[in-house]
Symmetry: C2
Subunit: 119 residues, 2 copies
């Protein structure tokens, strides 16, 4: 099983092969456009977690740039996420308000490794 | 050819299939540990760009969490990056100072799409 740890903010317990959706966004430079952005992102994470085959999600946001990586058991789970109506509506809201642009990549994870400090 | 745009902080011009290395890090909670971190990250980006088969790099850093995605033409290019001596030394420095832990994933990009606001 996978788990998310508040102590270590990366998704653990996954075993290749599986899929990663990498979404890199250019955020609006207008602060007013970003009101509600963090809440919308958190809602999407909750929604994704309800989909069968969801393995986890990682997120980091910098000045003007956000990277979200979500992990999925297979392409079918990823398709269900892509076609989810609330997700589609949130993407539209993103294009209208939050984003200046984005690039989305679907990739198959072949190998992974982890390091964590002891103690 | 690929390009990086200051206006749009994602890597453009790539065509699948190619490889993505997803590095998700838990950053030290001690601010003193992170002195020099941004400079070291920028140096690594410059170093990676010298390797044949490098396609680009995306980076976002949040409170306590960093995501770096680097893109590579093939596994051979990725191996040259992994085995680069300066990169190996920087990883050691990361484990000793910057990171509490990380997870690295090697994935094959199968599909991608982009949206950018007009005007």
């Amino acid at each position: 099983m996978t788990s998310w740890s508040a102590e270590l903010p990366f998704v653990r317990g996954t075993t290749p092969p599986y899929y990663a959706a990498i979404l890199t966004t250019a955020l609006s430079t207008e602060p007013a456009d970003l009101v509600g952005y963090a809440e919308a992102a958190a809602e999407m994470a909750d929604l994704a977690a309800q989909i069968d085959g969801y393995l986890g999600m990682e997120f980091a946001r910098d000045e003007g740039c956000g990277i979200t990586v979500s992990y999925w058991r297979d392409l079918n789970a990823l398709r269900n996420w892509r076609d989810n109506l609330e997700h589609v509506a949130a993407q539209r809201q993103g294009r209208e308000r939050f984003y200046r642009g984005y690039r989305a990549r679907i990739s198959r994870v072949e190998r992974e490794y982890e390091w964590a400090r002891q103690g």
